[in-house]
Symmetry: C2
Subunit: 266 residues, 2 copies
């Protein structure tokens, strides 16, 4: 993949759905993001989005992440799996409306995990589409798992894997806060945005804040950064930005200065 100079853009579930209303897309936000992506006109781009209020409620109720333990989970899996296709459809529709040649790539059709970690992704169809000029759009999904039967694959694990296998140049992670803070900015007025962070600083901070503050089935901000750090070590540029603020995704995609947290190797 050298020469493709690949960009991976992650759109968090909290940006593209209304987090408090199950199965409700944030159509305004999706449309604005499609406009920003179209305007940036990045050559080689893969988009990965989260599940937000489409993926999480049913996945949580049926404990899908833990694997297949009871027959009652079977319909929960099918509903979560299909809800992700529905959410993805809203995003593809918006991208096509703005003339971005977006093509859905269903992760559970080409990915198998083992104990919740990616065991194999057949990337050949997706890569062929990327090289032909399309913008593949993937997402966190309910996937088959070799040992667990099935599980939940987070968009964050997926982007880390894609970035590594395809030697991506950069990952832009769009969330609903400005980046990583020294404390929870919603609770602590003294919380400060961390403009740049390396692995050592992350470990120190994690101890200070008191470990993971995971609020959703796929992990919170620390989980997100922990997934991405091995990629940063491989030389991939990673920046976490607030995709809910207009123009931040556009500025990040076009390499303009933007508020956010950059992850550094050293």
């Amino acid at each position: 993949m050298g020469g493709l100079s690949l960009t991976i853009l992650k759109l968090g579930g909290s940006i593209i759905t209304k987090k408090d209303k199950p199965f409700t897309p944030n159509l305004e936000s999706i449309d604005r993001l499609a406009v920003e992506i179209a305007k940036a006109s990045v050559k080689s781009l893969i988009i990965v989005h989260g599940g937000g209020s489409f993926g999480h409620p049913v996945a949580k109720r049926y404990k899908l992440k833990e694997g297949y333990r009871h027959a009652s989970q079977i319909l929960g899996f099918t509903k979560t799996r299909q809800a992700m296709t529905t959410l993805n459809g809203y995003i593809i529709d918006a991208l096509i409306r703005h003339r971005i040649p977006a093509v859905a790539v269903q992760p559970s059709a080409c990915t198998i995990t083992k104990e919740g970690r990616i065991f194999n992704i057949d990337m050949k169809p997706m890569l062929k589409m990327l090289k032909t000029g399309f913008v593949p759009v993937m997402y966190g999904d309910a996937v088959p798992d070799l040992t667990l039967g099935f599980t939940i694959l987070s968009g964050d694990q997926l982007i880390a894997n894609l970035a590594s296998d395809l030697a991506a140049k950069r990952i832009i992670v769009g969330v609903d806060v400005d980046g990583l803070y020294t404390a929870d900015p919603k609770l602590d007025p003294k919380a400060q945005l961390i403009a740049s962070l390396n692995l050592q600083e992350l470990n120190r901070l994690q101890l200070a804040v008191g470990g993971s503050t995971s609020l959703d089935v796929t992990g919170g901000m620390f989980g997100k950064i922990a997934e991405l750090m091995p990629i940063v070590e491989k030389g991939v540029e990673v920046i976490i930005i607030n995709a809910g603020v207009p123009n931040r995704v556009y500025r990040a995609l076009t390499n303009r200065g933007v508020v956010g947290t950059r992850l550094r190797f050293r």
Copy 2:
């Protein structure tokens, strides 16, 4: 796959969509079929459906089957590809409503063709889901092609490939006529239904009728049978039935006598 005793059910595009109205599902028909499939309760089942008025109009206009020749086709590909996901969504929703653990498996996410013929399908995720107790649902799709850039993969080529690779026991092909006739039953009142047909008889008949009467981008009835004959030679039971007539799919799924055309090796 020995021991799974796999059944593949094909649902033709003309049954699940309103053929004269672009992008219009036949919801009544889809719901009735979901009821029949639920009632039959087949253990190991893969469903494959066609595109009908979702897949064909745009694919035809942009000549997608012939491959990538002009930049204007790019958006045609993305629209056709996405229309298939939309149609598939109606079918998955109906199946889940009737408590069938249906899981979409997007062919273009796991399949790559070469000169329009399947070059590779990564079936591992789909197989794992099948073995866990789900009903994978695939479809004719706009897919990446190694030499053409992209093309259209017909549901018929797909079922032949699946049946061969997974050593299926039987294929039930649901179309909008009772089976293969000695002449076009819509034009010739003397046309007779052929209850059973082998390869030799097919060749003789094809000469008599005057070759392919292909009316859609994926070929007509002869194209369908030509795709399936190599599978019949491998010992897979194949029957073509009218899925538009209530209870025929149910009777075929439960091995009851049913009107149709059986394909025989000899």
